[in-house]
Amino acid sequence: MANDRIKLRIKFRKYGPIRFIGHLDVMRFFQKAIRRAGIDVAYTGGFSPHQIMTFAAPLGVGLESNGEYMDIEVCSITSCQDIMERLNGASVPGIEIVSVNVLPDTAGNAMASVAAAAYTVSFRQGREPLTDIAEALPVFLAKNKIPYIKKAKKGNRELDLKPGIYKLTYLKAENTFFMLLDASSAGNIKPGQVIEALLAESGESLQENALLITREDVYANMGTKDKPEFVTLDAIQA
């Protein structure tokens, strides 16, 4: 009975060598980890039942994250703390569960809730651009439109990045950007696209594999489209 089930939101970090594990394999990893941890997970019906599990937003290969989310449904729970401990016990170094919360029945699933994501981004040593970022950034941010050509198999498409950049700052001392970007299915922007557009202003292009990217967290929009009010996905609790 669906009504008896409890929805859990699980937040985890992904770092170190594990950043090279692709999204589908992270899902496979959790399917098995949940079984090793002995969690009373709910399954779909039918001839090939699978665990009821949704991920918020796929993380690209090579990126680290401090805020990944997965929702699962369980038939019973001990306590959120206990589930977190058991999952960590069944995990590998590099995938660390940082919180487990019960979701309100009314909450949308993790994937549908995603509105924005925060990233810290820095340049790899030796691949810093010539552009003076501190100088270029205010000009870049003052623009009304930030055109970006998205290359796709079915021809290129011009996007305007501007409305999807909610926040963009740069700490010169640490050579680090902080960005809050649209991560909804309709308007998803990648950190690399922003940096590319920024460098393009001074005619420079981004070197291959030049960025070190960490996704810091993923947000839902509790406000409206025009007046967004972003909260992290783990702030939604029963």
Partner: protein, 630 residues
């Protein structure tokens, strides 16, 4: 998991971002073992010379990995063939091949153990050595190189690889490794050097050190003599065997890969060996006598392995699961246990009968699954020759039961090119396929046909004679003969009434011929394998990378004939390259079976009547339990 988890990877981010499936090279899988380098006496790199997904699916390595790592002073790690994309980068950037767990270069290990499961991986062995920056020929290696040791079924004829290995371990790995490592540690402490270690190792049971043996050839290319070059080196080497397969090593915590590998499930080996004695089958002879595992132990293991891996599926493994005496009890237990937590059961190598159909109906979706029969030959006459005790009556009865049960897909496996095969035998493949299809249309009324029609998939492979089988003396077909036989099969099927319900698959002939060369080859092939590798061949087991012309041309360069190794029927008194190995089954028994094959006589299986094969000398398994008959 353990202490000291290495965060450093052998490959740079740039490389890992560029290659296919970087997960193949980063280790860190659940249940992989990480130890403290500083408290380890022996470092062992265990290699399967093929791509990660294939190598990770191999049970033997998991058993030995578990065994070695249960030894406090040993750290066993894994290494596989880098895929072609990474291979090119490693060569270009001079990156040494590394072990997955520590990411340390293989060259610094004490041992590199390579399991040799099929002939077409021989060039990959050289790829692994080369990338590890270890000289390809054993005698070129210095004290800074690991001891390179080979194991697995292909070492029952190790001669085509003799130059590349310091040592071959003949037989089951669970028994002698500790003694070998102790000897190694002792020699190291005394500073005796690798040659002296190998000399002493050669005297341990099951160990073959090729450098201490010489082969002389007759003018016609056959072997004149095969002899030790030093006093005290044994002339014959008897395989190692586990006497009690219940009280032994078995990995309760198998490694769980991140990427989907071929065998993405718990594998439960229920018995070793086979009672059947099919005359084409090498495994059926090599692993004699059949030894069953205690059913209560298996139940315990199944539960524990499922819990420790989180796998959603368990598979029973053996050469012929239906012959396991406690199969119904075990399956009942598993169905019950697995039903509780959505675990699938996979049951390969089951004989199709009322019992197995009942079981399969319970554990899989009948509409989606297919049933497999392996008649191996198209006629009863030829099935008698190969001692495959499956009759047309049994196949059709099984198929009938299956159709009643709702199955609509049937796979039939055959071999082409078996000794004494005639056109009628080939015709029989088409006829049996047709009869199976016809049975469906006779039995199942139109409105009850789930998928509209029946689908019969007939597949043929080409027969390759293997050492230690009664067919080790037999002539293998040439490529042209193989192709002609496949053509005959195809046209015979096309003539059948139900041909639209029959799909026919056949293998490439080129690789089967070369497999035959390597399977029954001798030491002179070492130079060919090396040269072919140097010309750029590896991943020969992968059709898209196999270069047949290159092999043929290189054979010719060294004055060696393909037909000599494959097409020639061997005489009764010819010295075969593998004669110095004693796998338990005697040459006299094999010759007797060869003669019976030619007379189309069958031999009863081990549970019905002892055929005196010789394996009884090991004093274990079915040879020491009273026969129950029938």
């Amino acid at each position: 998991m353990g202490i000291n988890t290495s965060q450093r990877l052998a490959l740079s981010d740039d490389i890992l971002m560029k290659i296919e499936k970087p997960e193949r090279y980063i280790g860190h899988e659940v249940n992989s073992v990480v130890k403290d380098r500083d408290n380890i006496s022996v470092r062992f790199a265990m290699c399967f010379p093929d791509v990660y997904e294939i190598g990770m699916s191999h049970l033997g390595i998991q058993i030995l990995y578990d065994m070695f790592n249960s030894m406090e002073d040993v750290w066993c790690e894994r290494v596989y063939s880098p895929w072609t994309d990474l291979d090119a980068i490693m060569r270009e950037q001079n990156i040494p091949l590394f072990a997955l767990e520590s990411q340390d270069p293989i060259k610094g290990f004490d041992f590199l153990g390579i399991t040799i499961q099929y002939e077409m991986c021989y060039t990959n062995i050289l790829q692994v050595l080369d990338l590890a920056q270890i000289p390809l020929n054993a005698e070129e290696r210095g004290e800074d190189c690991p001891i390179v040791i080979g194991g697995g079924p292909c070492v029952y004829n190790p001669e085509p690889l003799a130059d590349f290995f310091d040592l071959f371990y003949i037989g089951e790995g669970e028994t002698q490794y500790r003694n070998l490592l102790d000897l190694y540690i002792e020699c190291r402490e005394k500073g005796l050097g690798r040659v002296e270690f190998l000399r002493r190792a050669a005297k341990l049971p099951g160990m073959y050190v090729p450098r201490f043996y010489r082969t002389a050839y007759n003018e016609d290319g056959t072997i004149q003599s095969f002899t030790p070059t030093e006093e005290g080196i044994p002339e014959r080497i008897t395989k190692e065997i586990v006497m009690d397969v219940t009280d032994t090593y078995y990995p309760m915590k198998p490694i769980v890969p991140f990427i989907k590998v071929t065998q993405d499930r718990v594998v439960l080996e229920i018995q070793r060996g086979c009672i059947r004695g099919c005359r084409f089958c090498q495994a059926g002879q090599l692993y004699r006598p059949v030894r069953e595992r205690d059913v209560d132990t298996l139940k315990k293991w199944a539960v524990e392995m499922l819990k420790n891996t989180g796998h959603e599926e368990i598979s029973l493994s053996s050469l012929s699961s239906s012959d396991y005496s406690k199969l119904p009890e075990l399956i009942d237990f598993l169905i019950n246990e697995c039903g509780k937590n959505h675990t699938n059961i996979s049951l390969p190598s089951l004989r199709i009968d009322a019992f197995s159909l009942d079981v399969m109906g319970k554990v899989q979706d009948v509409r989606k699954s297919s049933l497999t029969f392996a008649p191996e030959a198209g006629s009863q006459r030829l099935r008698n020759v190969i001692n495959k005790g499956l009759t047309e009556e049994v196949i059709l009865k099984g198929a009938g039961l299956a159709f009643e049960g709702g199955w609509t897909r049937v796979k039939l496996y055959f071999m082409l090119g078996l000794p004494t095969e005639t056109e009628e035998d080939i015709e029989g493949i088409a006829e049996l396929s047709n009869k199976t299809a016809a049975l469906f249309y006779d039995m199942v009324p139109k409105d009850k046909r789930t998928n509209g029609r029946v689908q019969i998939v007939a597949s043929t492979s080409f027969f390759v004679p293997k050492p230690f089988t009664p067919f080790q003396w037999a002539s293998q077909c040439t490529k042209d003969e193989f192709i002609e036989k496949a053509y005959q099969t195809r046209t015979a099927i096309a003539r059948q009434l139900n041909q639209k319900s029959i799909k026919y698959n056949w293998h490439e002939a080129d690789a089967s011929v070369l497999e035959g060369v390597l399977a029954r080859g001798d030491r002179r092939l070492c130079q060919v394998i090396r040269r072919v590798y140097e010309k750029g061949s590896f991943y020969d087991a992968w059709g898209e990378y196999y270069d047949n012309e290159r092999w043929l041309e290189t054979m010719e360069e060294y004055g060696l004939s393909v037909d000599f190794y494959t097409h020639r029927e061997r005489a009764a008194d010819e010295i075969l390259p593998w004669d110095f190995i004693d796998c338990g089954v005697s040459r006299e028994f094999l010759w007797r079976e060869w003669e019976k094959a030619k007379r189309e006589e069958i031999s009863e299986n081990c549970s019905l009547k002892c055929q005196g094969c010789g394996a009884a000398k090991f004093g274990c398994g079915i040879c020491v339990v009273p026969r129950e008959g029938v």
